[in-house]
Amino acid sequence: MTEKPSEEFLVMPIPLELPFQWAAGPYLGRFFRELRDNARLLANKCPQCGRLLFPPRQVCAQCHVKVGEDWVELSDKGVVEDFTVVVEPMSDPSTGERRTLPYPTATIRLEEGVSLIHYLEETDSAKIREGLKVQAVFKPREKRKGEMRDILYFRIVEGP
């Protein structure tokens, strides 16, 4: 039997671009408007279980009731609940742009007990610990667009 020559396998490149536009809806929409116009963070409150919904939304997933317009302004201060420092090159999935390294992402529990994931200003992991007190730093008004990135990052204000 003669040896078979190795076969050439073809691969078709697909450099696809797929633009989308997502409606925020009335509840999250109001949250983003307040963030853009007044640098304020809002949650709404479930009339049945009383918990704050953050991000604000129409229905409490646990009680299955309409949440409505019981709005609560949140403090822009909280504590670092957990964090990690990203050192691996990664793209922003919304824009495809490469993020600047290294950058820490953290779960931040605001004073009212609700949490969000955001960046920390401090990039030295040796200086970051769970329990650190942090405060939101907002972009200037003219740069704010009504999105989570209107918060630049959270700044350490005090050790635990």
Partner: protein
């Protein structure tokens, strides 16, 4: 449940980083042929076909439109399912449901992923809530770095313990002909692999694999006609948590992993899982998931997982073997991965796992899958009814 159901045939491909030698449909067909051969059936015996993958990893959103030749669904009923990391398990459960309903006697389940054809992390980030946190998404790596960090902080576990479990996984993979990464690892190799984001190292994460898996599922009456070694699917559950928008990786006791396993144990009278279950094939996209989740599955007490790693409890020859196949950290063709857990567990129940058959005699096997980051599928397979 109307009908009892059994797995009567299993198949999978030899998982690799790249398979430019086959297209997606041909890849699925390899697993389908293997499962039909294993069951000693032909497509004529199949009443319905269920399939699935994570469509955004290949960029194709209705694979079932053109995969009918590869999966054998021509003129047959069926559906395609996508549920994230759980896809292969959800496809399996759909096949169990089809057979249990009494409407179909023999059902084929097929799952695949061809990760050499897209950008998985970009795809994975695109499943995050588009308005709230997609912009900051860091794929599975970021999520499991948090799990590792939290576990270390909470339990006093050291990085060595993750390395121990990674070496255990590699030993299994080296004995499993179908596994993707076979590295002959030492603890030092794992400890010295590249840091991605603390404490996550490259070797702590699953690879991006190409592969497919298939199951043939039958009703009780047909199962007994088809094979002398049916693997009974005693129970299967899926549990969802609240929206992933608000959900956190690191709140023990509040996860779908914990709830799904507790539910399936309760329904089947299992009070001491590690004693009453003989082998587990769990879904661990990172070795930190395996370490931190033993307690979520109620295998051990909270914080005891790293002590188990030290003692080798979950080794292939251990008292309670977990992932003798090498698990997800060795092989992760995403859409197929959760079905591979069921395929491997079925082989263990049959005693057909070959070189990676566990020492402990297997009457009962437990599998899990975890997907979309906030739901869990668990199954219980048994040797006898």
């Amino acid at each position: 449940m109307a009908e009892r159901v059994a797995i009567v045939g299993v198949g999978q491909t030899y998982h690799r980083s790249r398979r430019p030698d086959v297209n997606q449909v041909e890849l699925m067909n390899e697993a389908v042929r293997a499962a039909l051969d294993d069951a000693q059936l032909t497509l004529r015996d199949i009443d319905a076909v269920v399939m699935g993958n994570m469509e955004l990893f290949e960029g194709n959103y209705l694979v079932d439109m053109w995969a009918s030749d590869g999966i054998g669904s021509y003129l047959k009923p069926g559906m395609k399912i996508t549920t994230g990391g759980t896809t292969g398990a959800t496809v399996s459960c759909a096949a169990f449901n089809h057979a249990a309903s009494g409407l179909f006697d023999v059902v084929l389940a097929v799952a695949f992923e061809k990760q050499d054809e897209g950008d998985t992390t970009a795809g994975l980030n695109s499943v995050s809530d588009p308005l709230w946190r997609r912009w900051i998404a860091t794929g599975a790596m970021g999520a499991f770095a948090r799990v590792g960090r939290d576990y270390i902080r909470r339990t006093g576990c050291k990085e060595e313990h993750a390395a121990m479990l990674r070496v255990k996984a590699d030993k299994g993979a080296c004995r499993n002909p179908y596994a993707h990464l076979k590295l002959n690892l030492t603890i030092e190799d794992v400890m010295n692999s590249r840091m991605l984001m603390w404490p996550m190292r490259l070797l702590h994460m699953c690879p991006t694999s190409v592969g497919a898996a298939a199951l043939v599922v039958a009703s009780e009456k047909r199962a007994k006609q088809i094979t002398k070694k049916p693997v009974w699917v005693k129970d299967w559950v899926t549990v969802h948590e609240e929206s992933a928008t608000t959900w956190s990786m690191v709140r023990p006791g509040e996860t779908s992993l914990e709830k799904a396993s507790r539910l399936i144990y309760q329904r089947n009278g299992i009070t001491k899982p590690a004693e009453e279950i003989d082998v587990a094939e769990i879904y661990e996209p990172s070795i930190w998931g395996e370490l931190a989740w033993y307690e979520q599955y109620h295998f051990c007490e909270p914080g005891e997982g790293w002590r188990w790693a030290e003692k080798g409890v979950t080794d292939m020859e251990g008292e309670f073997p977990v992932n003798p196949s090498g698990g997800v950290v060795a092989t992760n063709p995403i859409g197929a991965t959760a079905m591979i857990r069921i395929v491997e567990a079925a082989l263990q129940v049959r005693g057909d796992a070959g070189e990676h058959q566990v020492s402990r005699p297997v009457r009962t096997a437990f599998t899990t899958a975890w997907g979309g980051s906030n739901w869990t599928v668990a199954t219980l397979l048994t040797k006898s009814l």
